[in-house]
């Protein structure tokens, strides 16, 4: 309320009141026009202020719902007994008990633990559960196993810990402080609006002051000069614009919310549109965040499996006998289970108890087999050895569902090389053949190939135990392993990956055509990262990294010209040793970059590097430790599902479906809002000239005033509001996602081109049209243009009741005043009508009006209609003359206005 235009309007209001005060002191019975005008101006400022505030508040409310968390409780030993207290009441030295499912209430040192595992992903980005135990395993508190961190979750087991720090002193607390320490930078749209206010405000002030001086020089009284000044200010300030901008932004925010982008800060809507670099997480954002079987290798052949989100069946050739055996092992040698009552949930969405790869295998076999649980029921498990890190395999023994075959089936899966070591035969095309060296070689190639795609590979083998050695009642013992675990029959390999979301490759290519660089920043292994980057198009087909070029040409890495390599995969370890300029060089030289094995802290470094290049950076993040980067980025995007509250707090936008593709729709919306704001502003600015000229002519020619300040306000805040908001509903033009992101310094919201086009071209046409109407209205009633020159003093003299017109008739003051309001109305209507045409002109920037379609924007049509209706209401509603000095126009005048303005504008 105290910036930019508001200040100008306040100045106008104060000037009005001063003018009124002076008038009253001179003659007590002056009309209260100036008093009212001042009140109206102040009202406008306050209203727009409140309006903007409520819009902001509305979007803040959405956010507030995120904060409604149940206060955290902690189980603590105090005075020799266990007590449940609020986590905020913990002090250093408290002894707390933690069990699976709890959030850790403070930073604690673990003093005893039973199978305790914690999820530190929000803090360190490690997605695997970490075990906690009392031993000190590392100097670094973040690495050691005996510290549990505030706000992380205990997944399983129990632990007792000593509180070592609370609140802001905790690691998370410090990160949160760091996040709030990173300065909030002005959003690009705020910068643009400021720039725009400077241009228009500067123009208004300079014209105002120039004419103030001129009018004083021409011998006007100071009072008159002040009234002119007010008129010029009111004419120049687009009063309705701030409201339009706010409405447009919140409309877009609403639209984006529908597309799963929740915008916290309204202005961030546009920031996304000017984004030139997106630093995206991999897991969950680019990928589906679930392991899925991607490839199989059996019968010496690699087959790929369907990895899409909604698979119902697998389409690869399933006729091979080997496959039947392999699939049986996959189904049986698995401990994961579906949770109950999910029959009608699609397979891929069902909740599963078990780790990521077992879940993947379970779902895979559910897809190929149908009901796995029933199948397992039929092939009863008699004994099993779960996976552990020393064995690196998992084994189970089952009865078979073949009633004629009493043999037990032993199935095993594990690390491929370990499995192969335990096999002596291999199943090829359904026949068991001895395992020889040539097979080992093919196995190795296949294994390397699958591993090279960044996939996690598992080997599978089985053995039917001979019935004579292992009869029905054989007591299998897991401890002594009284059954064979070698000389098994190798069946095949399965490889799994967290596959990219199906919408992502398209989204990435859209980004690319929109000139936006997508950088992947992940904590994952470089090979996996690169594989995913390739499959989603972040590294495009045919691009090579320096390493790959070196390998292809068989030369040392140092000899490769770095500029030949479009792609780069940067390891977090490398990044650690880099100086800023090294990083800048990488960012500049390579179009396609993947940062792997990065710590969340390094994200901040990357973001800063991008910003040094002048880019507008969007960053996605979910962990607490991402919050500094989210805050630092021009637009921080937090994940709605996986994101921590700290990340959501630091972000400007929340992606409700964690999907990268939603960012791209967001970008499109952001660009659209920029375009549409540009349209709305040029629309709004155009009439300023037509509102300003009357005052200038009035001062210079000294004719009756063509349009009053109140009437101007009725255009700015009445007829023009709906049309300019309606431009926010305009669909994007065809090139919207095919042009480069706007340059923050060069592609301004309002530039000279736009201002000149609006002011000196369309604005002049409008003024000419409006003046024509003004002269017509006066001439038809008897005041020919020549008579108007220098008539102002007697025209406005209340004691002059017999002013003669061009035809010798004499007019009373009141008759002239009524005539003047007809001029106001005519001028008003002609501006309104030429604004109709202007709205159609502004509808498109690049496209032709036929490409864009005249009828597609229904709101705009409504805007056109509303303009006519409001104008008609103002001029034809009885009583308007007394209230607002509008008066009915003759139909022929209207027709004349209409045709003239349109022929003018359609030029």
């Amino acid at each position: 309320m105290i910036s930019g235009f508001s200040l100008l309007l306040w100045a106008g209001a104060v000037l009005c009141w001063i003018a009124y005060g002076v008038q009253v002191s001179q003659a007590p019975d002056v009309p209260r026009d100036n008093l009212y005008l001042g009140v109206v101006l102040a009202g406008v400022v306050i209203l727009t202020g409140c309006f903007a505030y409520f819009q902001e508040a509305k979007s803040t409310n959405i956010m507030a719902s995120f904060r409604n968390m149940v206060p955290q409780q902690a189980l603590v030993w105090r005075d020799g007994e266990k007590k449940q207290i609020l986590a905020s009441e913990l002090v250093v030295g408290d002894l707390v008990e933690i069990k699976g499912g709890d959030r850790i209430p403070a930073d604690v040192r673990v003093i005893s633990a039973q199978g305790c595992k914690v999820d530190n992903s929000s803090l360190t980005g490690e997605s695997e559960p970490q075990s906690r135990s009392p031993e000190l395993t590392h100097e670094n508190p973040l690495e050691t196993k005996n510290i549990g961190f505030y706000s992380t979750t205990c997944l399983e087991g129990t632990a007792t810990g000593l509180v070592i720090s609370t609140g802001d002193q905790t690691i998370i607390g410090r990160i949160a402080c760091l996040a709030s320490g990173v300065g909030d930078e002005k959003t690009p749209i705020a910068v643009e609006i400021e720039h725009f206010v400077h241009i228009v405000g500067g123009f208004a002030c300079s014209v105002g002051v120039i004419f103030f001086v001129i009018s004083l020089g021409m011998g006007y009284k100071i009072m008159d000069a002040i009234v002119f000044l007010i008129g010029i200010i009111v004419a120049n300030v687009p009063e309705g614009l701030i409201a339009t901008v706010t409405v447009s932004l919140s409309l877009t925010a609403k639209r984006m919310a529908k597309k799963n982008c929740l915008v916290k800060n309204l202005e961030a809507v546009e920031t996304l549109g000017s984004t030139s670099i997106i630093c995206s997480d991999k897991t969950g954002t680019l990928t589906q965040n679930r392991m899925t079987v991607a490839h199989l290798w059996f019968d010496n052949e690699i087959v790929s499996a369907d990895t899409s989100e909604d698979q119902k069946n697998q389409s690869f050739d399933q006729s091979s006998v080997t496959w039947k055996h392999l699939s049986r092992i996959v189904a049986l040698c698995n401990r994961a289970e579906f949770l109950a009552k999910q029959e009608d949930v699609p397979i891929m969405k069902r909740a599963v108890m078990g780790d990521a790869s077992e879940t993947a295998l379970l779902k895979f076999s559910e897809v190929v087999y149908g009901n796995v649980m029933a199948y397992r029921e039929k092939n009863k498990k008699v004994c099993e050895i779960p996976f552990n890190s020393t064995n690196k395999f998992q084994l189970s023994i089952h009865e078979t569902d073949d009633p004629h075959d009493k043999r037990f089936l032993l199935v095993m899966k594990g690390a491929p090389e370990r499995i192969l070591d335990r096999c002596s035969t291999v199943m090829l095309n359904g026949k068991e053949v001895p395992l020889d060296d040539s097979f080992k070689e093919t196995f190795q190639t296949a294994y390397m190939e699958l591993g090279g795609m960044g996939e996690r590979v598992l080997g599978f083998c089985h053995l039917l135990l001979p019935e004579d050695e292992f009869p029905d009642s054989y007591p299998f013992d897991v401890e002594s392993m009284n059954f064979p675990t070698s000389n098994l029959c190798f069946a095949g390999l399965l490889s799994m990956i967290d596959p990219p979301r199906s919408t992502v490759p398209d989204a990435v290519s859209k980004c690319r055509s929109a000139g936006i660089k997508v950088i992947m920043v992940t904590g994952d292994h470089p090979i996996t990262a690169q594989a995913i980057a390739k499959s989603v198009g972040i590294i495009s087909e045919g691009s090579e990294t320096v390493d790959e070029i070196a390998r292809r040409l068989n030369i040392p890495i140092s000899q490769v010209n770095k500029k030949d390599a479009r792609a780069a995969v940067v390891n977090g370890m490398q990044l650690k040793d880099m100086t800023d300029s090294d990083l800048d060089e990488i960012l500049r030289n390579h179009g396609e970059i993947v940062f792997a094995r990065t710590s969340p802290q390094q994200k901040l470094v990357i973001v800063e590097g991008c910003q040094r290049m002048g880019a507008i950076v969007a960053v996605t993040g979910d962990g607490v430790n991402d919050s500094p980067a989210l805050k630092k980025a021009n637009i921080g995007i937090a994940m709605g599902i996986a994101g921590s509250d700290a990340a959501k707090n630091a972000a400007d936008m929340i992606l409700m479906d964690d999907n990268f593709a939603s960012i791209v729709t967001g970008v499109e919306e952001g660009r659209l809002i920029f375009d549409n704001l540009k349209k709305a502003i040029s629309y709004t600015l155009t009439k300023n000239i037509a509102e300003l000229c009357p005052f200038l002519i009035y001062i210079i020619v000294s004719c009756p005033l063509p349009i009053g300040t109140i009437t101007i306000l009725f255009i700015d805040l009445g007829t023009d509001i709906i049309p300019s908001v309606s431009l926010a509903y305009e669909k994007g033009e065809t090139d919207i996602m095919n042009r480069k992101p706007r340059h923050p310094k060069r592609d301004r919201l309002v530039n000279w081109q736009l201002a000149l086009y609006s002011y000196s071209q369309i604005g002049m046409i409008q003024s000419v049209g409006a003046f024509f109407c003004y002269f017509t209205v006066l001439a038809q009633q008897g005041f020919l243009p020549a008579r108007l020159i220098n008539i102002r003093v007697s025209w406005e003299d209340k004691n002059d009741q017999d002013l003669e017109d061009s035809y010798g008739q004499e007019w009373t003051y009141e008759q002239r005043r009524y005539q003047e309001s007809e001029c106001y109305t005519a001028f008003f209507v002609s501006i309104v009508i030429s604004q109709l045409a202007d709205l159609i002109i502004r509808k498109t920037r690049m496209n032709s009006i036929f490409q864009q379609g005249m009828l597609r924007n229904k709101v705009l049509l409504f805007g056109l209609a509303s303009q006519l209706i409001i104008a008609a209401f103002l001029s034809y509603c009885p009583g308007m003359y007394d209230a607002l000095r509008f008066c009915p126009l003759r139909i022929p005048v209207l027709v004349c206005v209409f045709t003239l303005c349109h022929t003018n504008l359609d030029l």
């Binding site: 024509f772 035809y807 004499e810 009524y818």
Partner: protein, 277 residues
């Protein structure tokens, strides 16, 4: 350190210089000479065209107008009433000629149009009937309104218009409106606003605007038209001196409006007179 800080200053200076004149590409304020020439040419043609269009439309519009009567006359369907001397408040000391000289000079100047030498071509019309000349050739004839009709207020016998005796003359004039035909003959009635008793003399004695002066045919067609006047001589007594007297004159006895809420001068006129001794 210092060099680092100096750099931007230098840059900004040079960029300013570059902006005004950039020697590398010959740009002057962001444009080359050719570009400036083109843009000026564009605006020259554009504004030339606009001016042409404006003049053309204005010309066409003016062609649709009649030289003799305005296209619409509904804004002034009823005439306003004004007084001479032209002042909302008349204040003078009857024994100080310098104070009322302003008023009498004004009246004299106003009435000089009605001198006989200006009305040589004017004809004597039939009183009580409209002087309709719709089908007469131009210029239309003008009915004579002799100054002498105003009697004591004509300024012929008493050149101070009664101001010196404290009984000032006020001349009431009805605004000219083309084609106006008051029906029946209107007359002027002046009253004191508060209950004060006010006696006045009217000249001509019936206080009417005679029908023969109507209708008016407009400045061009009806050159030399003199509009009828009614002079009001306020017959003030010694009791009326030294106080503010509010007088209102209304046009009555016709179809002309004299009680419009908004326009206080439509068919009526109010003024204040203060005469001191």
């Amino acid at each position: 350190m210092s060099s680092k800080e100096d750099k931007p200053v230098e840059q900004s200076q040079s960029s300013w210089k570059d902006f005004i004149y950039n020697p590398r590409n010959g740009e002057f304020i962001g444009r080359t000479a050719r570009s400036w020439a083109l843009i000026l040419l564009f605006y020259l043609i554009f504004y030339g065209f606009l001016a042409g269009l404006f003049s053309l439309t204005m010309w066409v519009m003016l062609q649709t107008l009649d030289d003799y009567t305005p296209k619409y006359r509904d804004r002034i369907s009823n005439p306003g009433l004004v007084i001479r001397p032209k002042a909302p408040e008349i204040i003078f000391n009857r024994s100080a000629p310098s104070e009322y000289k302003e008023y009498t000079d004004h009246l004299e100047a106003f009435l000089s149009k009605y001198n006989s030498e200006h009305q040589k071509n004017n004809i004597d019309c039939t009183p009580g009937a409209y002087f309709i000349q719709d089908n007469q050739p131009l210029p239309k004839q003008v009915c004579k309104f002799e100054r002498s009709l105003l009697g004591q207020c004509s300024g012929i016998t008493d050149q101070t218009f009664g101001y010196s005796e404290g009984r000032p003359c006020i001349i009431v004039k009805m605004n000219r409106i083309i084609g106006l035909k008051p029906k029946p003959t209107p007359f002027i009635n002046c009253t004191a606003k508060k209950d004060d008793k006010l006696s006045v003399n009217y000249f001509p004695e019936n206080a009417t605007f005679d029908s023969m002066y109507f209708p008016y045919y407009g400045k061009l067609a009806h050159d030399g038209y003199v509009q009828p006047l009614v002079a009001v001589k306020l017959l003030l007594n010694s009791s009326d001196f030294n106080k503010k007297l509010s007088v209102e004159c209304k046009i009555e006895g016709s179809n002309l409006l004299n009680n419009d809420d908004r326009d206080k001068f439509l068919g009526r006129v109010a003024f204040q007179v203060t005469v001191t001794e």
